[in-house]
Symmetry: C2
Subunit: 211 residues, 2 copies
Protein backbone atom coordinates (compact mmCIF):
# COMPACT_ATOMS: atom_id res chain seq x y z
CA UNK A 1 0.00 0.00 0.00
CA UNK A 2 1.37 3.46 -0.86
CA UNK A 3 1.95 5.73 2.16
CA UNK A 4 -0.95 7.91 3.20
CA UNK A 5 -0.88 11.71 2.72
CA UNK A 6 0.22 12.45 6.29
CA UNK A 7 3.18 10.07 6.04
CA UNK A 8 4.08 11.33 2.57
CA UNK A 9 4.01 14.95 3.72
CA UNK A 10 6.12 14.17 6.81
CA UNK A 11 8.68 12.19 4.77
CA UNK A 12 9.02 14.98 2.21
CA UNK A 13 9.35 17.59 4.96
CA UNK A 14 12.12 15.55 6.63
CA UNK A 15 14.01 15.28 3.36
CA UNK A 16 13.60 18.91 2.27
CA UNK A 17 14.26 20.43 5.72
CA UNK A 18 17.38 18.29 5.99
CA UNK A 19 18.76 19.33 2.61
CA UNK A 20 17.73 22.98 2.45
CA UNK A 21 17.27 23.96 6.10
CA UNK A 22 13.91 24.60 7.77
CA UNK A 23 13.93 28.18 6.56
CA UNK A 24 14.94 27.25 3.03
CA UNK A 25 11.71 25.40 2.27
CA UNK A 26 8.09 26.54 2.29
CA UNK A 27 4.92 24.49 2.84
CA UNK A 28 4.05 24.83 -0.84
CA UNK A 29 7.23 23.03 -1.92
CA UNK A 30 6.62 20.31 0.69
CA UNK A 31 3.01 19.79 -0.45
CA UNK A 32 4.13 19.62 -4.07
CA UNK A 33 6.91 17.13 -3.34
CA UNK A 34 4.36 14.97 -1.49
CA UNK A 35 2.04 15.05 -4.51
CA UNK A 36 -0.66 16.91 -2.61
CA UNK A 37 -1.68 20.51 -1.91
CA UNK A 38 -1.42 23.11 0.84
CA UNK A 39 -5.01 22.54 2.00
CA UNK A 40 -4.35 18.85 2.65
CA UNK A 41 -1.03 19.69 4.32
CA UNK A 42 -2.74 22.11 6.70
CA UNK A 43 -5.42 19.51 7.48
CA UNK A 44 -2.68 17.20 8.83
CA UNK A 45 -0.28 19.80 10.23
CA UNK A 46 -1.82 23.00 11.52
CA UNK A 47 1.18 25.14 10.57
CA UNK A 48 4.75 25.02 9.29
CA UNK A 49 5.84 25.15 12.94
CA UNK A 50 3.90 21.91 13.60
CA UNK A 51 5.80 20.28 10.74
CA UNK A 52 9.08 21.59 12.18
CA UNK A 53 8.25 20.09 15.58
CA UNK A 54 7.36 16.76 13.99
CA UNK A 55 10.69 16.84 12.12
CA UNK A 56 12.74 17.62 15.25
CA UNK A 57 11.03 14.89 17.29
CA UNK A 58 11.56 12.39 14.48
CA UNK A 59 15.28 13.26 14.28
CA UNK A 60 15.63 12.89 18.03
CA UNK A 61 14.03 9.44 17.85
CA UNK A 62 16.37 8.34 15.04
CA UNK A 63 19.31 9.29 17.23
CA UNK A 64 17.82 7.35 20.17
CA UNK A 65 17.83 4.27 17.93
CA UNK A 66 21.60 4.58 17.53
CA UNK A 67 21.94 4.51 21.31
CA UNK A 68 19.77 1.39 21.48
CA UNK A 69 21.96 -0.33 18.86
CA UNK A 70 25.16 0.57 20.69
CA UNK A 71 23.73 -0.80 23.95
CA UNK A 72 22.66 -4.04 22.29
CA UNK A 73 26.10 -4.52 20.74
CA UNK A 74 27.90 -3.93 24.05
CA UNK A 75 25.58 -5.25 26.78
CA UNK A 76 26.68 -4.30 30.29
CA UNK A 77 29.93 -2.82 28.95
CA UNK A 78 30.02 0.96 29.49
CA UNK A 79 33.51 1.36 28.01
CA UNK A 80 32.50 -0.57 24.90
CA UNK A 81 29.34 1.55 24.65
CA UNK A 82 31.32 4.79 24.92
CA UNK A 83 33.79 3.80 22.22
CA UNK A 84 30.96 2.31 20.15
CA UNK A 85 28.90 5.48 20.33
CA UNK A 86 31.82 7.72 19.37
CA UNK A 87 32.61 5.42 16.43
CA UNK A 88 28.99 5.50 15.29
CA UNK A 89 28.95 9.27 15.60
CA UNK A 90 32.13 9.55 13.49
CA UNK A 91 30.62 7.26 10.85
CA UNK A 92 27.37 9.20 10.61
CA UNK A 93 29.14 12.52 10.45
CA UNK A 94 31.43 11.36 7.65
CA UNK A 95 28.43 10.14 5.66
CA UNK A 96 26.25 13.22 5.91
CA UNK A 97 27.44 16.64 4.84
CA UNK A 98 24.52 18.54 6.36
CA UNK A 99 25.54 18.13 10.00
CA UNK A 100 23.19 17.71 12.96
CA UNK A 101 19.62 18.57 11.96
CA UNK A 102 18.80 19.57 15.52
CA UNK A 103 21.82 21.84 15.95
CA UNK A 104 21.20 23.32 12.48
CA UNK A 105 17.61 24.03 13.42
CA UNK A 106 18.83 25.81 16.56
CA UNK A 107 20.85 28.11 14.30
CA UNK A 108 17.86 28.79 12.07
CA UNK A 109 15.24 29.24 14.82
CA UNK A 110 16.20 32.74 15.86
CA UNK A 111 12.89 33.69 17.51
CA UNK A 112 13.34 33.40 21.28
CA UNK A 113 10.90 30.91 22.80
CA UNK A 114 10.20 28.98 19.61
CA UNK A 115 8.83 25.59 20.77
CA UNK A 116 11.37 23.80 18.55
CA UNK A 117 14.20 25.13 20.72
CA UNK A 118 12.78 23.21 23.67
CA UNK A 119 12.70 19.94 21.71
CA UNK A 120 16.33 20.49 20.70
CA UNK A 121 17.37 21.32 24.25
CA UNK A 122 15.64 18.26 25.71
CA UNK A 123 17.31 16.02 23.18
CA UNK A 124 20.78 17.50 23.72
CA UNK A 125 20.42 17.28 27.50
CA UNK A 126 19.36 13.63 27.21
CA UNK A 127 22.37 12.83 25.04
CA UNK A 128 24.77 14.60 27.39
CA UNK A 129 23.28 12.81 30.43
CA UNK A 130 23.62 9.43 28.74
CA UNK A 131 27.27 10.11 27.99
CA UNK A 132 27.87 11.28 31.57
CA UNK A 133 26.24 8.14 33.02
CA UNK A 134 28.42 5.95 30.78
CA UNK A 135 31.55 7.91 31.72
CA UNK A 136 30.69 7.40 35.37
CA UNK A 137 30.04 3.67 34.90
CA UNK A 138 33.30 3.39 32.93
CA UNK A 139 35.24 4.77 35.89
CA UNK A 140 36.36 8.03 34.24
CA UNK A 141 38.37 10.34 36.46
CA UNK A 142 36.02 13.32 35.93
CA UNK A 143 32.90 11.88 34.27
CA UNK A 144 31.00 15.15 33.90
CA UNK A 145 33.93 16.97 32.33
CA UNK A 146 34.66 14.03 30.03
CA UNK A 147 31.02 13.88 28.91
CA UNK A 148 31.13 17.59 28.09
CA UNK A 149 34.36 17.11 26.13
CA UNK A 150 32.76 14.30 24.10
CA UNK A 151 29.66 16.41 23.44
CA UNK A 152 31.83 19.29 22.22
CA UNK A 153 33.86 16.98 19.97
CA UNK A 154 30.71 15.49 18.38
CA UNK A 155 28.99 18.84 17.91
CA UNK A 156 32.20 20.34 16.60
CA UNK A 157 32.71 17.51 14.13
CA UNK A 158 29.23 17.96 12.72
CA UNK A 159 29.61 21.68 12.21
CA UNK A 160 33.20 21.39 10.96
CA UNK A 161 32.12 18.67 8.52
CA UNK A 162 29.80 21.28 7.07
CA UNK A 163 32.39 24.05 6.61
CA UNK A 164 35.52 21.97 5.90
CA UNK A 165 34.26 18.72 4.38
CA UNK A 166 35.31 15.15 5.07
CA UNK A 167 39.04 15.91 4.93
CA UNK A 168 38.89 18.54 7.69
CA UNK A 169 39.18 18.10 11.47
CA UNK A 170 35.94 16.07 11.62
CA UNK A 171 37.83 13.18 9.97
CA UNK A 172 39.73 12.88 13.25
CA UNK A 173 36.67 12.66 15.52
CA UNK A 174 37.19 8.96 16.32
CA UNK A 175 40.92 9.39 17.01
CA UNK A 176 40.57 12.56 19.06
CA UNK A 177 37.75 11.16 21.16
CA UNK A 178 39.76 8.01 21.86
CA UNK A 179 42.71 10.15 22.94
CA UNK A 180 40.40 12.16 25.20
CA UNK A 181 38.74 9.04 26.65
CA UNK A 182 42.18 7.57 27.37
CA UNK A 183 43.40 10.77 29.02
CA UNK A 184 40.45 10.58 31.43
CA UNK A 185 41.38 7.02 32.35
CA UNK A 186 38.89 5.23 30.11
CA UNK A 187 40.99 2.64 28.26
CA UNK A 188 40.24 0.94 24.98
CA UNK A 189 37.63 -1.82 25.18
CA UNK A 190 38.90 -5.33 24.80
CA UNK A 191 38.54 -6.68 21.27
CA UNK A 192 36.08 -9.49 20.82
CA UNK A 193 38.46 -11.15 18.37
CA UNK A 194 41.30 -11.04 20.90
CA UNK A 195 40.07 -13.00 23.92
CA UNK A 196 43.24 -12.75 26.02
CA UNK A 197 43.73 -9.51 27.91
CA UNK A 198 47.09 -7.93 27.38
CA UNK A 199 49.10 -7.05 30.45
CA UNK A 200 49.59 -3.45 31.46
CA UNK A 201 47.35 -0.44 31.25
CA UNK A 202 46.16 0.24 27.74
CA UNK A 203 45.16 3.28 25.82
CA UNK A 204 46.21 5.92 28.28
CA UNK A 205 48.77 7.50 25.97
CA UNK A 206 47.49 9.43 22.98
CA UNK A 207 50.83 8.81 21.28
CA UNK A 208 49.81 5.19 20.78
CA UNK A 209 48.13 4.79 17.36
CA UNK A 210 44.48 5.06 18.16
CA UNK A 211 42.61 3.32 15.37
CA UNK B 1 30.94 63.00 10.95
CA UNK B 2 28.13 60.46 10.75
CA UNK B 3 29.02 57.24 8.90
CA UNK B 4 28.39 57.25 5.16
CA UNK B 5 25.61 55.14 3.59
CA UNK B 6 27.91 52.25 2.61
CA UNK B 7 29.27 51.94 6.16
CA UNK B 8 25.79 52.29 7.68
CA UNK B 9 24.38 49.59 5.41
CA UNK B 10 27.30 47.25 6.15
CA UNK B 11 27.02 47.80 9.92
CA UNK B 12 23.27 47.14 9.90
CA UNK B 13 23.74 44.02 7.77
CA UNK B 14 26.36 42.70 10.22
CA UNK B 15 24.03 43.24 13.14
CA UNK B 16 20.89 41.83 11.53
CA UNK B 17 22.60 38.85 9.90
CA UNK B 18 24.21 38.03 13.21
CA UNK B 19 20.96 38.16 15.16
CA UNK B 20 18.50 36.66 12.67
CA UNK B 21 20.69 34.61 10.34
CA UNK B 22 21.53 35.52 6.76
CA UNK B 23 18.32 33.96 5.53
CA UNK B 24 16.21 35.56 8.21
CA UNK B 25 16.76 39.12 6.91
CA UNK B 26 16.00 40.71 3.55
CA UNK B 27 17.67 43.67 1.84
CA UNK B 28 14.59 45.80 2.53
CA UNK B 29 14.96 45.40 6.31
CA UNK B 30 18.68 46.17 6.08
CA UNK B 31 18.09 49.32 4.01
CA UNK B 32 15.40 50.46 6.44
CA UNK B 33 17.59 49.85 9.50
CA UNK B 34 20.35 51.89 7.80
CA UNK B 35 17.94 54.76 7.20
CA UNK B 36 18.18 54.43 3.45
CA UNK B 37 16.43 52.55 0.63
CA UNK B 38 16.92 49.49 -1.56
CA UNK B 39 18.12 51.55 -4.55
CA UNK B 40 20.98 53.04 -2.51
CA UNK B 41 21.78 49.64 -1.04
CA UNK B 42 22.06 48.11 -4.50
CA UNK B 43 24.28 50.99 -5.65
CA UNK B 44 26.80 50.02 -2.96
CA UNK B 45 26.27 46.25 -2.92
CA UNK B 46 25.22 44.66 -6.19
CA UNK B 47 23.18 41.93 -4.51
CA UNK B 48 22.32 40.36 -1.17
CA UNK B 49 25.07 37.82 -1.87
CA UNK B 50 27.60 40.69 -2.09
CA UNK B 51 26.46 41.85 1.34
CA UNK B 52 26.78 38.30 2.67
CA UNK B 53 30.36 38.07 1.36
CA UNK B 54 31.20 41.42 2.91
CA UNK B 55 29.77 40.16 6.23
CA UNK B 56 31.72 36.88 6.16
CA UNK B 57 35.00 38.63 5.30
CA UNK B 58 34.41 41.16 8.08
CA UNK B 59 33.77 38.39 10.62
CA UNK B 60 36.92 36.57 9.52
CA UNK B 61 38.94 39.77 10.00
CA UNK B 62 37.50 40.30 13.50
CA UNK B 63 38.65 36.83 14.44
CA UNK B 64 42.13 37.49 13.00
CA UNK B 65 42.33 40.45 15.40
CA UNK B 66 41.90 38.07 18.34
CA UNK B 67 44.86 36.07 17.08
CA UNK B 68 46.94 39.24 16.83
CA UNK B 69 46.04 40.17 20.43
CA UNK B 70 46.92 36.70 21.73
CA UNK B 71 50.29 36.86 19.95
CA UNK B 72 51.03 40.31 21.35
CA UNK B 73 50.18 39.17 24.90
CA UNK B 74 52.40 36.07 24.66
CA UNK B 75 55.31 37.03 22.37
CA UNK B 76 57.44 34.05 21.33
CA UNK B 77 55.52 31.75 23.68
CA UNK B 78 53.54 29.14 21.70
CA UNK B 79 52.18 27.41 24.82
CA UNK B 80 50.99 30.73 26.23
CA UNK B 81 49.41 31.56 22.88
CA UNK B 82 47.60 28.21 22.74
CA UNK B 83 46.17 28.58 26.24
CA UNK B 84 45.47 32.25 25.60
CA UNK B 85 43.56 31.54 22.41
CA UNK B 86 41.45 28.80 23.99
CA UNK B 87 40.65 31.12 26.91
CA UNK B 88 39.66 33.93 24.55
CA UNK B 89 37.50 31.51 22.57
CA UNK B 90 35.75 30.34 25.75
CA UNK B 91 35.14 33.95 26.78
CA UNK B 92 33.68 34.97 23.43
CA UNK B 93 31.46 31.90 23.26
CA UNK B 94 30.07 32.51 26.74
CA UNK B 95 29.28 36.11 25.83
CA UNK B 96 27.47 35.52 22.56
CA UNK B 97 24.50 33.22 22.26
CA UNK B 98 24.43 33.17 18.46
CA UNK B 99 27.53 31.02 17.95
CA UNK B 100 30.05 31.34 15.12
CA UNK B 101 28.67 33.55 12.36
CA UNK B 102 30.78 31.75 9.78
CA UNK B 103 29.72 28.25 10.85
CA UNK B 104 26.09 29.43 11.09
CA UNK B 105 26.30 30.82 7.57
CA UNK B 106 27.64 27.46 6.36
CA UNK B 107 24.46 25.87 7.75
CA UNK B 108 22.27 28.43 6.02
CA UNK B 109 24.06 28.50 2.65
CA UNK B 110 22.65 25.27 1.28
CA UNK B 111 23.28 26.00 -2.43
CA UNK B 112 26.38 24.07 -3.48
CA UNK B 113 29.11 26.37 -4.79
CA UNK B 114 27.86 29.55 -3.08
CA UNK B 115 30.90 31.89 -2.98
CA UNK B 116 30.33 32.42 0.75
CA UNK B 117 31.21 28.77 1.42
CA UNK B 118 34.69 29.41 0.02
CA UNK B 119 35.24 32.39 2.34
CA UNK B 120 34.17 30.25 5.31
CA UNK B 121 36.39 27.37 4.26
CA UNK B 122 39.45 29.60 3.78
CA UNK B 123 38.93 31.13 7.21
CA UNK B 124 38.45 27.78 8.95
CA UNK B 125 41.52 26.31 7.23
CA UNK B 126 43.60 29.33 8.28
CA UNK B 127 42.47 28.96 11.89
CA UNK B 128 43.19 25.22 11.93
CA UNK B 129 46.66 25.78 10.39
CA UNK B 130 47.49 28.44 12.97
CA UNK B 131 46.54 26.08 15.79
CA UNK B 132 48.57 23.25 14.22
CA UNK B 133 51.66 25.49 13.87
CA UNK B 134 51.35 26.51 17.53
CA UNK B 135 50.86 22.88 18.65
CA UNK B 136 54.03 21.97 16.72
CA UNK B 137 56.00 24.87 18.21
CA UNK B 138 54.70 23.94 21.68
CA UNK B 139 56.15 20.44 21.32
CA UNK B 140 52.83 18.56 21.29
CA UNK B 141 53.09 14.82 20.83
CA UNK B 142 50.79 14.75 17.78
CA UNK B 143 50.36 18.40 16.73
CA UNK B 144 47.98 17.79 13.83
CA UNK B 145 45.66 15.60 15.86
CA UNK B 146 45.76 18.03 18.79
CA UNK B 147 44.92 20.97 16.50
CA UNK B 148 41.94 19.05 15.13
CA UNK B 149 40.78 18.25 18.66
CA UNK B 150 40.97 21.95 19.62
CA UNK B 151 39.07 22.96 16.46
CA UNK B 152 36.33 20.43 17.24
CA UNK B 153 36.08 21.63 20.85
CA UNK B 154 35.76 25.28 19.79
CA UNK B 155 33.25 24.58 17.02
CA UNK B 156 31.32 22.28 19.33
CA UNK B 157 31.21 24.85 22.11
CA UNK B 158 29.79 27.46 19.76
CA UNK B 159 27.03 25.23 18.48
CA UNK B 160 26.31 23.72 21.91
CA UNK B 161 26.11 27.23 23.40
CA UNK B 162 23.29 27.82 20.92
CA UNK B 163 21.24 24.72 21.80
CA UNK B 164 22.05 24.36 25.51
CA UNK B 165 22.91 27.85 26.72
CA UNK B 166 25.73 29.01 28.97
CA UNK B 167 25.19 26.27 31.54
CA UNK B 168 25.66 23.43 29.04
CA UNK B 169 28.88 21.70 27.94
CA UNK B 170 30.22 24.89 26.33
CA UNK B 171 30.80 26.24 29.86
CA UNK B 172 33.55 23.64 30.13
CA UNK B 173 35.41 24.62 26.95
CA UNK B 174 38.38 26.14 28.80
CA UNK B 175 38.68 23.19 31.20
CA UNK B 176 38.27 20.49 28.56
CA UNK B 177 40.74 22.11 26.20
CA UNK B 178 43.29 22.42 28.99
CA UNK B 179 42.83 18.74 29.81
CA UNK B 180 43.27 17.87 26.14
CA UNK B 181 46.35 20.11 25.75
CA UNK B 182 47.87 18.49 28.83
CA UNK B 183 47.16 14.98 27.57
CA UNK B 184 49.09 15.80 24.39
CA UNK B 185 52.07 16.92 26.44
CA UNK B 186 51.43 20.68 26.28
CA UNK B 187 51.67 21.82 29.92
CA UNK B 188 50.20 24.94 31.48
CA UNK B 189 52.08 28.14 30.71
CA UNK B 190 53.96 29.70 33.57
CA UNK B 191 52.03 32.49 35.28
CA UNK B 192 53.42 35.98 34.91
CA UNK B 193 52.47 36.72 38.52
CA UNK B 194 54.39 33.68 39.73
CA UNK B 195 57.95 34.19 38.58
CA UNK B 196 59.45 31.06 40.15
CA UNK B 197 58.85 27.81 38.31
CA UNK B 198 57.43 25.08 40.45
CA UNK B 199 59.22 21.78 40.43
CA UNK B 200 57.74 18.77 38.64
CA UNK B 201 55.77 18.47 35.46
CA UNK B 202 52.62 20.50 35.55
CA UNK B 203 49.27 20.18 34.00
CA UNK B 204 49.64 16.75 32.45
CA UNK B 205 46.90 15.17 34.53
CA UNK B 206 43.32 16.20 33.80
CA UNK B 207 42.42 15.28 37.38
CA UNK B 208 44.25 18.35 38.60
CA UNK B 209 41.79 21.27 38.81
CA UNK B 210 42.38 23.12 35.60
CA UNK B 211 41.15 26.65 36.14
Amino acid sequence: MPPRPRERIAACAHDLFHRHGIRGVGVEAIAEAAGTNKMTLYRHFGSKDDLILEYLNYKGKKSDEIWAEVEQSNPGDPIGQLYGFMEQAAKFIAEDERGCDLANAAVELTEAGHPGLRVIEEFKVRQRDRLAALCRAAGASQPGLLADALVLLIEGARVSRRSLGTEGPSANLARTSKAVLASFGVGRPKRKSRPRLRKGRQGTNPQVPLT
